[in-house]
């Protein structure tokens, strides 16, 4: 091994594969290459470590080590601390937890929300994980899921009706987010196909729709939903506010999805369509089997980006008076018993949103890796 550098050992054609030089692989190699390879890299590494040292220990102290978890009100909380107001008072969040989760959903009916959440997990699983045994049959359940949960949450047909104005908290976020995400994707794909179609009337219609929705802020659309839509409907029709919000959020996200998917469609070489055509596949079969699977794969980062944006934008319903987690947080802070604990509230909400969005982001990376099939074309 020591004389592996002397090269004339082997007859031509018999040179074996030798291991790479030490310190280029393994942990040492990685640390050297990524953290200390150049003077600038060394400086950046040290600065990074220093910044982490400044931020992480005090944050841990505040949020976990010194924090207070049980108290009746803020003064009791502060009394329990070494220095008042220098640590987190999670007792506040604990006392409001049901409000944060269920909003004003009637206490006796909260099992319906819990059941819906369990059902949601079972609906997401077959969608996200394609190796699930019997996935084909699960899909029927997935298709029925929105109606099942809609019935569970709103009631009627044997269940006590619950007004949608009593929805709130994380449950409201999930209702808007999941509905928006699951309906905007198919609608967005349809719009993208329409916009790239050869039929001028269809194309113009799709372009007008997409450009209108993209040109108007979501808040404006939500105001339209909450105030103006009644003028356009026949007098006397009552149209649930939540329903109107769901429609607006879905349309809004669909327009963005459409543009992302259109980008993906343009990334598919013309030869793919020609190959599908030459095999006798019809337009729809070619789209479904050849074009869309490839276009959607390219579009995954953009689609997930849109979904994450949509999910966070659900907090905008606060402006038209719905009580999403931010709305609940704000009204909780108005309580004199707990006033002044804004940091705890907003950090708590931020962590909830971060976990959801980070989950989506990681899933999209997993999906990209899974769908990678060697070099393209």
């Amino acid at each position: 091994m020591t004389d592996s550098t002397t090269s004339s050992h082997y007859a031509p054609g018999t040179h074996p594969d030798l291991p790479p030089p030490r310190r280029t692989t393994g942990v040492v190699g990685w640390v050297y290459k990524n953290l200390f390879s150049t003077p600038l890299n060394i400086v950046l590494t040290l600065v990074g470590v220093w910044i982490l040292y400044l931020i992480v220990p005090p944050l841990l102290d505040w949020a976990l080590l010194e924090s207070v978890w049980t108290a009746e009100n803020r003064t009791e909380c502060w009394d329990k601390m070494e220095v008042a107001e220098e640590a987190a008072c999670w007792a506040f969040i604990k006392s409001r937890l049901t409000l944060f989760i269920y909003g004003f959903y009637p206490e006796a009916e909260r099992w319906r929300v819990n059941l819906s959440f369990v059902l949601l997990i079972f609906a997401i699983l077959p969608v996200l994980y394609d190796k699930l045994p019997g996935r084909r049959h699960w899909m029927w359940y997935v298709a029925a899921f929105p109606f099942l949960v809609g019935w569970l949450l709103v009631g009627g047909l044997g269940l006590a009706p619950v007004e949608t104005s009593e929805f709130g908290g994380f449950m409201l976020t999930l209702v808007i987010g999941v509905t928006g995400i699951s309906f905007s994707l198919p609608l967005g794909i349809a719009l993208a196909l329409g916009r790239t179609s050869n039929l001028p009337a269809l194309r113009i219609l799709c372009v007008l729709f997409i450009e209108f929705i993209r040109g108007v802020p979501l808040i404006a659309l939500l105001f339209v939903a909450s105030t103006m839509l009644n003028y356009f409907l026949p007098p006397g029709t009552t149209f649930d506010l939540l329903m109107r919000v769901l429609i607006m959020v879905t349309l809004f996200a669909a327009a963005y999805i459409a543009e992302v998917v259109r980008g993906g469609l343009q990334g598919i070489p013309k030869g793919q369509v020609e190959a599908a055509d030459s095999l006798g596949l019809s337009y729809w079969k070619a789209q479904r089997l050849i074009i869309l699977p490839q276009a959607l794969k390219i579009s995954i980062p953009g689609i997930v980006n849109t979904f994450i944006g949509l999910y966070k934008d659900t907090t905008l319903v606060l402006i038209i008076g719905m009580l999403d987690p931010l709305g609940i947080g704000r009204s909780s802070l108005a309580d004199a018993q707990w006033a002044g604990l804004a940091r705890e509230v907003y950090l708590f909400i931020a962590v909830f949103f971060f976990l959801c969005c980070f989950g989506m982001s990681r899933y999209s990376l997993y999906l990209e890796r899974k769908l990678h099939t060697g070099h393209e074309r």
Binding site: Q272, A275, S278, L279, G280, L281, K285, I290, G374
Partner: protein, 264 residues
């Protein structure tokens, strides 16, 4: 040469009579790309089992001509009848003809998101409604014929160019086409891979397949073609059986072209 063929399209028997000789019949066909007159008054009769090589300088319209035969390009004047069915804007006819006419492209155009086997079984399953297991069996037999059955579960991106092109040929054959179109099948290949593709094509020709091949492989033309067609400027300039075509070209433009491609 025209065996008693068992045509499925029974209602078209009468139109079949005058085309029993020609499996492809192109008459007075013109095509324009915008203002550019790319094909001018093309007349071509192809009999069953005939192997035709089409050559000519780039931009002469040879690719466009064979792409008109399965309507990847639309012609604007004249008529094209394939296997008794005339190509019009009728989508049904187009799909029938496309499922009877196989095409192999310069850049293979395999579906990168599907395995080699799935590439081959897709059209039989979705167009011919063949059961999955049967389609897989047929596909494996054709993959054996092009000598890459061991690659069936790989993705196209993992294969060499020559292997990809052989898969593309197998994919077309899985539809049991009556006619095969080849659009410069070896032009995008590294030199050492050209032979493996040509070997498959020669074998196919020997099995009696009707073939139209756009290529500059003059060795292939001499070996298997019944007829060589020379195109230039959107016209068929000259056609002849290969030996005569190469040794005794009639037209000046043919002579010039041959001197250019055979000079080294």
């Amino acid at each position: 040469m025209a065996n008693t063929d068992q045509t499925a399209s029974a209602p078209e028997l009468d139109s079949k009579v005058d085309t029993s000789e020609s499996t492809i019949s192109i008459r007075g066909m013109h095509k324009w790309f915008g203002d550019f007159h790319v094909l001018k008054d093309i007349n071509l009769e192809v009999t069953r089992g005939e192997r035709i090589v089409i050559c000519g300088p780039s931009g002469s319209g040879k690719s466009t001509l064979i792409r008109c035969i399965n309507r990847l390009e639309e012609h604007q004047q004249g008529s094209i009848v394939v296997d008794g069915t005339e190509l019009t804007s009728d989508l049904k006819n187009i799909e029938i003809i496309r499922s009877e006419v196989g095409m192999v492209f310069q850049h293979f155009n395999l579906f990168p998101h599907l395995t080699v086997l799935e590439n081959c079984t897709l059209a039989p399953i979705w167009v011919r409604k063949m059961p999955k297991a049967e389609a897989a069996e047929v596909a494996m037999s054709y993959l054996e014929r092009v000598q890459i059955p061991e690659q069936a579960s790989k993705f196209p991106g993992q294969l060499s160019g020559g292997q990809q092109q052989r898969v593309a040929i197998a994919r077309s054959l899985c539809m049991s086409p009556r006619i095969m179109l080849f659009d410069e099948p070896t032009s995008a290949l590294d030199p050492e891979m050209i032979k493996e593709v040509l070997d498959v094509m020669v074998e196919l020709a020997e099995s009696g397949m009707t073939m139209l091949v756009v290529t500059h492989e003059m060795g292939f033309a001499t070996a298997v073609a019944n007829r060589v067609i020379f195109m230039d400027g959107g016209e068929i300039i000259e056609q002849n059986e290969p030996n005569e075509f190469f040794t005794n070209p009639q037209h000046d433009r043919t002579k010039l072209f041959l001197s250019q491609i055979l000079s080294h």
